[in-house]
Symmetry: C2
Subunit: 438 residues, 2 copies
């Protein structure tokens, strides 16, 4: 990277003019003076790229170069830095970023899918060209979480990083809890309101959270990005019964991404959790996101705020642009590519924690005792075990709901106890298991 | 400042070896390799200063230069950067910082009292010498709040910054709420446990919060630091009755520092508030701190974590040291001293918000009606008005507790209504007024 001349503007090319891209372009065009950080170069939008040149996006494109092909934007001599907001873990987004880095141009991206899949390779490419590859906007929208891990905790021993990283899931869970309605019904409504995609798999099955978590893990632990080798469980199986039990027990159900150092490696896991109502993360409702960072020196710090939205996400892109305009050249993943340690996965079966288990127990003598016996023989100590049928529900039944809360135990023991209970024939449905987090 | 040679260590001198200073020295001595940020100079502790050279502080001072006079540490040619942890808004701390800046050495300080009183003058001195003056540790201990305001939100329009900034107050309020005991009793216990000073005025009367708020205000709004011209009210007047009413009404009482842009200027205010139980700040309990930043682009982001403690505060000093070791030279108050606008105070009497009012009403016919009439004639619309005597309390009474919650109104109207109610002779004690915050 050539030494920036602090008098010349930093010329910005934006590829992808969806909600975030259009918000970013509007901000760069309408408040460039305010956005000029102290002692930094002016940010000047010079070029954009999108599928459709003619669509009205609420800003004047007449003074900008329009590139039908995003790669041409990367090669445009009037573009100093490329902002990739196309999306997708491959295809045009990947080609654009690669081209820009080859051209020796800094890249800013909000594309967690791309980074989760190809982040190591792209970080190497950035290093070879000695240009920054920044991605504050890729995780938790407007929250400065990447920056906190990169700048505020180096040298501390991070023990755990966790977060509510997907606004769609958090919105659905919040509505399920408040309105007592089923997942499918909230999902349909969320799709109608634009809070969920037509194909919601990516969000509700936990993959988007997994991509973001993989980036946080790498920054927090100095390890290679590994998004495919982790435990992932979405929120489809959560029922109104679970919501009701959670409320009665003093918990709130949240989809968390958690990366935790253990003796055998790093647990990277995405799954619904029972959070104590008094915890900070339990208060993060609706489309908000939050990231919690635990270190040996700080204990826990929590950053919360908007996880999505055009302006909020654009604000994170702008913070990265301001870093570039100040001449900062941070390493993409904090450490040089060659210093990142391989990711060593800790298996879920050795995960230790408390468990919520909801069983549909066949109503015959001895079932309760047999279940308690199975838990005991796997060394699982119970905090509570209750039959939860509602007082109003007085009719005849073939099965009863039973809710078990365990003390801290090992996942393998819980799984084996459940296998035993199923084999014994005392339950008529797969047990619902939700991990209790602090 | 001379261009740093990235191969040479950055030599650190620490003045003041209390809890934070000793923790910092231990960390610099025992994990200097881990604390070396990527691409940055090594941090090397070379000199310390304290009142007592011989006290055992848990680290080996034999390789360090000890300065009985802190000013000598600033002049030590083997010290490149001075860390001021002496404390106090004047005296040796101020002299040390001035001497270091005159010597052209960067300064890092955790001293909010000093910065609140003399921050503008010291920022000017730092600018004249073109060296950084950093103070992440001065506000909210280990939480990267200064950094967020400095690096993550420039160019956005900050509308409000608020926070739980004093761990002692938050600890006392949390215990009052949980245990139902009076302020004085918790204070005595907190003093015994070391959570409150022998002279608690500085904390419990809001002055420490005010100092920290003044720094946040300057960074957030680009204004001159003004810590003396603000509304300050501490927590001594909060009673168990208020705690009980808050719980019943769905609030939690917190001491907040709030800086808010209004049409007539900036409201800087420190006072107890009623926070809705479901707000993020309401969950920050015990000695934890939190800072909320509202901007036009982000909405609200909240950062929470440890507000004090040796290691946590030392971690913030280290983050500043790492910035220096990377060669960063941020302006102390984000903008150059000359670009800071004068602080224009908005008066509390024009503050708009909801109010909690607790009255001790003399028990005679017409009192209730007269009070409602006074509120009405000042245009105050009531959300609720209830007599709160406990069902168990059946004896004869000369007065009754009455709790009023107002809709949004102007402070002047509330004050005038209270004056009227007192003049009417319907109350036998000064009304308790607590502002409702969102």
């Amino acid at each position: 990277m050539t030494i920036p001349n602090s008098d010349s503007p930093l010329r910005v090319g934006v590829a992808g003019l969806g909600t975030v891209g259009a918000a970013l372009a509007r901000l760069l065009l309408t408040r460039s003076n305010e956005l000029r950080a102290e002692g930094a170069r002016l940010l000047m939008l010079t070029a954009v790229s999108a599928r459709d040149a003619s669509k009205d996006r609420g800003f004047d494109m007449s003074e900008l170069t329009f590139h039908a092909n995003a790669d041409d934007l990367a090669r445009d001599p009037e573009v100093d830095v490329v902002v990739e907001l196309i999306g997708g873990d491959d295809g045009p987004a990947k080609t654009l970023v690669e081209t820009a880095l080859q051209e020796g141009k800094p890249v800013i991206t909000a594309n967690k899918a791309l980074l989760a899949a190809h982040g190591l390779q792209l970080a190497s490419a950035a290093e070879r060209s000695n240009v920054p590859l920044l991605f504050e906007a890729a995780v938790a929208g407007g929250i400065p979480a990447i920056r906190a891990l990169r700048d505020a905790v180096p040298g501390q021993k991070v023990t755990r990083v966790s977060g509510i990283l997907n606004g769609t899931c958090n919105y659905i869970l919040t509505r399920m809890e408040r309105e007592g309605i089923a997942f499918d019904d909230v999902l349909t409504d969320a799709q109608r309101l634009g809070y969920a995609e037509a194909d919601p798999t990516f969000d509700v099955d936990g993959f988007d959270t997994a991509h973001k978590l993989a980036l946080l893990t790498s920054l927090a632990f100095g390890t290679e990005i590994e998004a495919s080798d982790m435990y992932i469980e979405g929120i489809r199986a959560i029922t109104p019964d679970d919501m009701e039990a959670a409320r009665e027990l003093g918990y709130r159900i949240k989809l968390l991404g958690v990366a935790q150092a253990t003796e055998t490696g790093i647990e990277q896991r995405v799954h619904p959790t029972m959070l104590p109502l008094e915890s900070t993360l339990a208060q993060i409702n609706g489309v908000l996101n939050a990231v919690a960072i635990d270190t040996d020196l700080l204990g826990e710090i929590v950053l919360s705020g908007p996880g999505a939205g055009g302006d909020a996400t654009a604000a994170s892109v702008i913070a990265d642009l301001q870093d570039l305009a100040r001449g900062l050249v941070p390493k993409p993943l904090r450490l040089p590519r060659g210093d990142l340690r391989p990711y060593q996965r800790a298996r879920m079966r050795s995960h230790e924690g408390g468990y919520y288990v909801r069983l549909s127990v066949v109503d015959k003598p001895g079932a309760f005792a047999a279940i308690a016996q199975r838990m005991a023989e796997h060394g699982i100590s119970l905090q509570s075990i209750v039959q939860r049928r509602k007082p109003t529900d007085t009719g005849p039944h073939t099965h009863q709901p039973v809710i078990i809360i365990t003390h801290e135990t090992m996942e393998q023991a819980v799984r084996e106890a459940m296998d035993g209970i199923m084999t014994d024939g005392h339950v008529d449905a797969t047990p619902q298991i939700i991990r209790i987090e602090r």
